[in-house]
Amino acid sequence: MSDDLNIKKTSSIKTKSSSVSGGGTDIDYVRPAELPEQDLYHGHSFITKWIFCQDAKVIGIQYTLTAVFTGVVGLILSWMMRMQLGFPELFPFLTAESYYQMVTMHGMIMVVYLLTALFLGGFGNYLIPLMVGARDMVFPYVNMISFWMFFVAVVVLMASFFVPGGPTGSGWTLYPPQAILEGTPGSGYGILLMLISLSLFVIGFTMGGLNYVITILQARTRGMTLMRMPLTIWGIFTATVLALLAFPALLVSSIMMTLDKVLGTSFFMPTIIKAGEMLSYDGGSPILFQHLFWFFGHPEVYIVALPAFGIVSDLLSVHARKNIFGYRMMVWAIVGIGALSFFVWAHHMYVSGMNPWFGFFFASTTLIIAVPTALKVYNWILTLWRGNIRLTTVMLFCLGFIVTFVNGGITGIFLGNVIVDVPLSDTYFVIAHFHMVMGIAPLMVIFGAIYHWFPLITGRFLDETLGKWHFWVTFLGAYSIYFPMHYLGFIGVPRRYFEMYDSPYMTSAVGMNEFISVAAFIVGAAQFIFFYNLVKSIRLGKPAGKNPWKANSLEWLTPQVPPEHGNWGEKLPVVHRWAYDFNVPGAKKDYITQTTPPSEVIEAEVEKT
């Protein structure tokens, strides 16, 4: 065994142990570089610098802006839906057709085009090279194409609003046979454009995803071991791997459905009698589609959850001035959740008419996933314990995340337990569950992350006062939308109901629906405070300077703020420790950056004692 690989000897995660081994320079030893410097293509013109740009940071921002644009569309759609549900008679133009189209587009946009693109495309691109100490993604050109594929996918998706028949109204789950038959709005061009857009998204994402994975695995800087990476990177990494393995199922089901639609094949289509006539389909299996969809769909919900888990860990640690509790457990939990998420998909299909024996298998695997997730929750709150909590806007969003995530996670446990799912499936309980755990919790993290990294991206702080308003309105508002909504589900109100109040026992839902709708308008409107804050602060925000939050991880340690193309100036940073050395006993400052060599820490200690 060669000595130079044995880095564990010279430095370990715990600063304590590295500082006991005495002075001398060899304690700072880090293996020499394995790889030559990366050649970068530097843009010259406006077009190569800002449009067809190969810099991951710019691509990240492009992804973010595009995703937020779709997010605003999704938000407006949710407003219109709530309008209908809360005040059914008010807007005659809200027909059942358009309602279902809105539900569908809202769901798909929010899950795939907003959250997935924002977390992986946006944060992934911006943060991965910076946090692992690379100059850029490993294949910047492919990375650029990835964004433009995504862009085209969004254009195709948005185009479906304007085609004859409108966008598809099949529900974001796109279940056949309904999705491609008349009787569902947008079953002509709408569904086709949706399928094409999804396929483009998958292809584009694959290009980006390969970049993220390989950058993290193969392009880390010296001293950056996997177990020193910030949890943000672990979350994004695992989510990307999930995406690379789960999106194929979506691609395949899209292709097959397209063929069913266009060529009249019968993959998912059994014999069907419509309007008294027998269609030419025969022998296909609708449940197969559901299996394929959820083989993608369940990992997909963790694809949006894992990056949030990772990011929130980092934000909590920085703003509580304390190391993240149980780092190694956190890493294993992320990886474990990721791996397990491929074995639980049919918990969305308990009442789909699949083989009833699957219920036992999938209920067990589903509840098992709760264990690593629970550990993460415990570790977050234990990170707060005996910390020094700065109640910044960022921290508030993290706390909001914990509350909403635990709430939504527990309702997930209801649904995961197969027999409990029977009465609750396809009711508003499910809607409440996933908005709490996916609509609100990760969005909280996104907002927190933007407040956190905005100073890095622009060099200026976002306004804290506006930020706090934004937080409280969003958190309290969203909580009061979705917490009561569970009880609609108990009553038995099914989801995807355009209106429902003539049933005797459902009349009591009217009042709640009005309340929910009003809350939704307010929460939505609060986002415009945020947009105002963003626009205002780019120019007028308080200048932040370098490393304003006193964080440890590499992205704050670039020579320039905001970092330039190539990130690191002359020399790549060298990493000596994990990213969570806050308030190390005996250290002079309350944080020790990842690049601080052990010998300096010892000096600090010596000075103090």
């Binding site: 059942a96 057709e97 279902y100 789950t173 279940y175 046979p177 038959l181 009787g183 709005p185 009249g264 059994p270 014999t271 009698i273 269609l279 030419s280 609708p286 001035r321 190391n323 509790f325 149980g326 009442v351 789909s352 008419g353 009833p356 036992f360 098992i368 264990v371 629970a374 709150i381 707060l384 005996r386 910390g387 020094n388 909590i389 700065r390 109640l391 914990i402 509350v403 635990v406 709430n407 527990i410 446990i413 209801f414 197969v418 029977v422 009465p423 396809d426 309290l476 909580y479 009561p484 009880y487 009553i491 038995g492 099914p494 989801r495 049933s503 009591s508 969570y580 308030n583 006993p585």
Partner: protein, 295 residues
């Protein structure tokens, strides 16, 4: 300071809402009380964990609010604590899962003596078929559906002859007799859901799915379609009436059987040409397949 208080208020508010909520499940009218019990159990365990986690968080907010120079603990991990928490959670999960699976086992095992009821879903409504004297439903196929045979019953199957056809949204069932619902769809996915019975299952075209329950309260119950099935989804309601045996028998007697239905059609002289027509359709379909698709 008030940050912690607001979070505390959120937790207390959640509990209060849960305790005093006017929105709660409908009175149960079937044997699936065990489902409600499992939900309650989940509420106790899950709710307890939620409250504990959040209270701990609030405590931290109060106790460890930023103070310059506060002594912060440096403790990257605590193996013992983590192992304990893992086990505690695993225990909680097992306590939820075990009863859940037991009830599920009941749910998928239909009692021998249950009455079979076929629910046929279409866009957007319901039809029903009950077995006749023999207690057995005849085989069927969507391919055989036509005006003379709205349920696509196999004419060659003797079991089907006495099947009772109910071409209406209203289904009656007898109180305190287990019912096996056999779900069938002629077009897209639907789901036969009566909140008071708790049970539900999708109707999938191209196959038969099932569930069972035993009604135990006489009354009328609305059927909601609980699987999205196109624009009419929200309007796809039906009615289940739970009768005592006597009323049920009366209601049953009012409906015609498949053979009487055919006899009636024959008398009206409707049937012969139609049979030829449907056979033609079936035949042309076979040959079309290799030629060109219709749609």
């Amino acid at each position: 300071m008030w940050t912690g208080l607001v979070f505390l208020a959120v937790i207390i508010g959640s509990i209060a809402f849960h305790v005093w909520t006017p929105w709660w499940w409908t009175d149960i009218a079937s044997n699936w009380g065990a489902m409600d019990d499992t939900i309650i159990l989940t509420f106790w365990i899950g709710g307890g964990v939620f409250i504990l986690v959040c209270l701990f968080m609030v405590y931290c907010i109060f106790k460890f609010n930023y103070k310059e120079g506060r002594k912060v603990e440096y403790k990257p991990e605590d193996k013992k604590l983590e192992v304990r928490l893992t086990w505690a959670t695993a225990l909680g999960v097992a306590a939820l899962l075990a009863p859940g699976l037991l009830v599920w086992n009941q749910y998928i095992k239909v009692p021998e003596n249950s009455i079979h009821v076929e629910v046929m879903a279409w866009q957007w409504g319901w039809k029903y078929r009950l077995p006749g004297e023999d207690g057995v439903l005849g085989t069927s196929s969507n391919k055989k559906i036509n005006d003379d045979n709205p349920f696509g019953i196999n004419e060659d199957d003797p079991n089907g002859k006495d099947d009772i056809l109910i071409d209406s949204e209203e289904l009656h069932i007898a109180n305190n007799r287990p019912v096996k619902i056999l779900l069938r769809s002629i077009d897209v996915l639907h789901n036969f859901y009566v909140p008071q019975f708790r049970a539900k299952m999708d109707a999938v075209p191209g196959m038969i799915t099932y569930y069972w329950f035993e009604p135990n309260k006489i009354g009328e119950y609305e059927v909601l379609c609980a699987e999205y099935c196109g624009v009419g989804h929200y309007a796809m309601r039906g009615l289940v009436v739970v009768d005592n045996q006597e009323d049920y028998n009366k209601w049953l007697a009012k409906h015609e059987t498949f053979s009487s239905f055919i006899a009636k059609r024959k008398k009206e002289g409707l049937i012969n040409e139609k049979v030829v027509k449907i056979n033609n359709i079936l035949n042309t379909k076979k040959s079309i397949k290799s030629e060109k698709n219709v749609r």
